[in-house]
Amino acid sequence: MNAKKKKVMSPAVSRYATLWLLLAQVMVALPVFDVLPATVLPLIALTLLWRVLIWFGRGFWPNVVIRIVLVACSFGLIITGLGWTFSLEMAVTVLVTGYALKMLEMVTRRDAMIVAFIGFFVTGAAGLYSQSLSQAAYLVLCIGVLVAAVHAIYSSPDQRSIKVSGRFAGLMVLQTLPLTIVLFVFVPRLGPLWAVTWPDSSKQTGLSDTLKPGDVASLSQSYELAFRAQFKGGMPLPDQRYWRALVFDQYNDGQWSQTKLDTVRRQYPDVVVSDSDWQVKKSSAVSWWQNQPDGYDYEILLEPSGSEWLPTLGPAASAIADSTLFRTMRIEAERPVFERKLYRPSSEQIDPVSVSMPAWLREVNTTLPDTGNEESRYFARQLFEESEGDPLVMGWSILKFFNQSTFYYTLSPPLMGRDEVDDFMFRYQKGFCEHYASSFVFMMRSVGVPARIVTGYQGGDLLPEDNVIRVLQRDAHAWAEIWVDGEGWIRFDPTTAVAPERVELGIDEMISRGRLEQTELPLAYHLRNTQVLKFLRNQWEGLEYRWQKSVIQYQEDTQEDYMRQLFGTAAYYWHQMTVLGGLMVIFLSLYGVFFLLSKKSALSVHQKLWLSLEKKLARKGYHREPGEGPAAFADRICLENPALGEKLKPVISRYIRSAYGKTDDLDKAEFQSLKSAISQI
């Protein structure tokens, strides 16, 4: 690309426009900053610095060789940072790197336009990573800056001020808003023609598929949002808010995991004959228990977790669309959740007495390794004898033990040894919910009582004005369930024995009441607990929730619902199109009226009169050249068509006298007669 050759095609880009483009580049790159691999960051920084130096007249333009080396370097760095597999990250990184490098050959206006358009594209890419309200607002701001940059590229020297460009961009963005809203609401949603695969499944947040000491403790410090639940009608009390996500019933080498269909089919080939003995996709096929129709009616908006689990309030009674129901009373999505997911769990409840418990399932839930944790096994046997074989009494006495011994609830438990239950029960006596739950389940199983660990979330903040419960990652919790013949699965939360407030108040209040041994409180905790900030945060999150629910989740289904609500007929689609078309017509005509008005008002009476004359002559085939004055125009017509010219000449000279002669006050009578004379031509 020869710079000289280009100059012929397009004028050079001004320093002022370059400044806008640099600002836009920094702003647009910020939201995707943490996507970029660390290897390319120095390159991008170097490029920008170089461009700034050129701007100050301190740097030189890189020649072709340097540019080729830079491009090769950037590809090398991208591959080092991200590997060879193609991913969305790679696409975005290539885009952003190219965006930065292009600045180094931005000489002409045409180049500048390309840079600006890449900027718009990167803005769109940033929208893939977060669709929160704040992000959306920021991206609109980015678009504003980019529009200002485009304005700056084409501005004449006297228009070059931040005020002029900013005003222009602001007006333009504001003008597009109404149309954007109409198009958003009414344009039918089509499924994507192609889908970006999201290969980065390592980005799991929240609960993990296995349970090891320490997992939940680290999680509980995160203030990230896990999900929001909106209720219609009744709301559960704080101590009923057990959000069930995963059920761990397999124990191996100190690690708890979930039973898979393959495992039970392999272990019990005679009894587990079909998939529906372990998991079903349609609620009608459930034969494991009976349902009652008196549960809570609620919707959950789940943040991307990277896993399949879908939290439900209490045991899940039946499957919902695109999900699988497991015999462990939990549901799972068909694919990992990488985008916000809105779903409505079944409002039915399981009748606990009706739950069936075949022998093989009982075996699954009592299996333990043959050896290990001998102290705890011995202790459990003692308790079992004391409670005369009643699992409920045994459960209560374990809780009593937790309560009366010197057990501490801590966010940073010590590392346990090989016999981790023994270590926890008799040596350290410090731990988080998972330690209590897993020890409880271990001891129950050791005496033959079916037991399992349930993890999920517990509690959540109530936003009363929206009927919404907001659950954060720090609300993650683990509890236990034991099987009692004739009563079904009974929930035991051993954590309540040592720290009952943990369940009733939530973690924030506990920390503030000094009930929690805490070595390191995150700074975020202190920041969260001033009243004003709390109020603002609640308001903001309420706003964010409404944004998520009514804008981001406004997809095919919700749109269809809304349209039906609006038009109430089966032919809503045609109504939708009619409204869309009608609004377009209104918009266009409004635009046309404004356009005409603004143009008309700038013209003087004489100019309007002249234009009407010009129109008439244009119909006869005589067009005035731009640089042709009225007299010259009349002379030319005279030459080409003497008959017309003879009629025209006196009129035009009258026009000239009227338009250019004494201008203090317009001779109205003369103007009117001139007007009629022109209309007669």
Binding site: P157, L603, H606, L611, G629, A632, Y660
Partner: protein
């Protein structure tokens, strides 16, 4: 008054053959209180035209032949010690006159050029710390050879700006040239020219030019022209507000010559090239001032 102008034009056409438009432009320039720069190759009748005007307008006439060793004092005058009065006496230079012909102005050194050009703008001369007014009217007709000729010092842009108009003589058409060869024009006829106007009449005409009106419609057209010259693609430097005033004044003078009391767009178009051409430098990929005139819309 109209007859005076007509007289002038007719008399001139006898001396300078086939250059009616240039003559008209020159008179227009004087009526607009401007100075005139005539640029062309040697022998095209520049000096003859300047001489004719001095006779026609009946102004006191001085001529300076610019050379590379000409000094400012040669133009402005010097103070000489008078022994009888034992005091310095100021001897006015040739600049103290009604019409000054500065021949081949670009052959003098820049220092001398600027002495003249300052006098043109200020219409007064300061020598030995004393300001001396120049007579009214004061008109400078400068001739210059194209700058690519040997031994010339190009006038800087700032000084070219002092001339209201710059006109080119150009070769005469065949018929006119034949008349010149026959001796029916040129220096011989020049001597027989009669004065067609007095200095007072010229001042009166200049005042009449000021009274010519320009409507908003016309001013908008001038503004469009000025704006178009200021877009950086076409010209390196656009027209200054002073150039805009000059353009309007020249257009008014042209309207007056036509006997009108108001300016029409054609007046502006006629004087645009002589007024603007020497003030504009077309940039590498720009358009010429003439093309600009064709592009800017006259009416809206």
């Amino acid at each position: 008054m109209d007859s005076i102008i007509k007289n002038c034009l007719e008399s001139m056409s006898g001396v300078i053959r086939g250059k009616d438009n240039e003559v008209r432009l020159a008179i227009c320039c004087f009526l607009a209180r401007g100075h005139l720069l005539i640029e062309d190759l040697p022998g095209m009748g520049k000096t003859a035209m300047a001489l004719s005007f001095s006779r026609l307008l009946g102004l006191e006439y001085q001529r300076i032949q610019f050379t590379s060793d000409l000094l400012p004092a040669d133009i402005l005058g010097v103070s000489i010690f008078d022994q009888s009065a034992s005091d310095f006496q100021f001897k006015p230079g040739p600049v103290f006159t009604g019409m000054l012909l500065a021949d081949e102005v670009n052959r003098a050194s820049p220092r001398t050029q600027s002495a003249l050009l300052e006098a043109m703008e200020e219409r007064q001369v300061t020598v030995d710390g004393e300001a001396r007014m120049l007579p009214k009217p004061f008109i400078v007709i400068a001739t210059q050879n194209p700058v690519f000729q040997e031994g010339t010092f190009a006038l800087p842009e700032s000084q070219q700006d002092r001339f209201l108009m710059q006109i080119h003589m150009g070769y005469p058409d065949t018929e006119s040239e034949k008349a010149i060869l026959k001796g029916e024009a040129g220096r011989l006829c020049l001597n027989s020219l009669e004065q067609a106007m007095t200095a007072e009449e010229l001042l009166l005409l200049q005042e009449e030019v000021d009274k010519v009106s320009a409507s908003d419609l016309l001013l908008d057209y001038i503004l469009r022209l000025l704006k178009a010259t200021r877009s950086e693609e076409h010209f390196e430097v656009g027209l200054s507000p002073r150039a805009g005033l000059a353009l309007l004044q020249a257009a008014k003078a042209w309207a007056r010559i036509d006997g009108r009391t108001y300016v029409v767009p054609e007046d502006v178009q006629t004087v645009f090239l002589p007024v603007a051409r020497h003030r504009l430098t077309t940039s590498k990929h720009g358009i010429s001032p003439g093309e600009l005139l064709a592009r800017v819309n006259v009416m809206v």
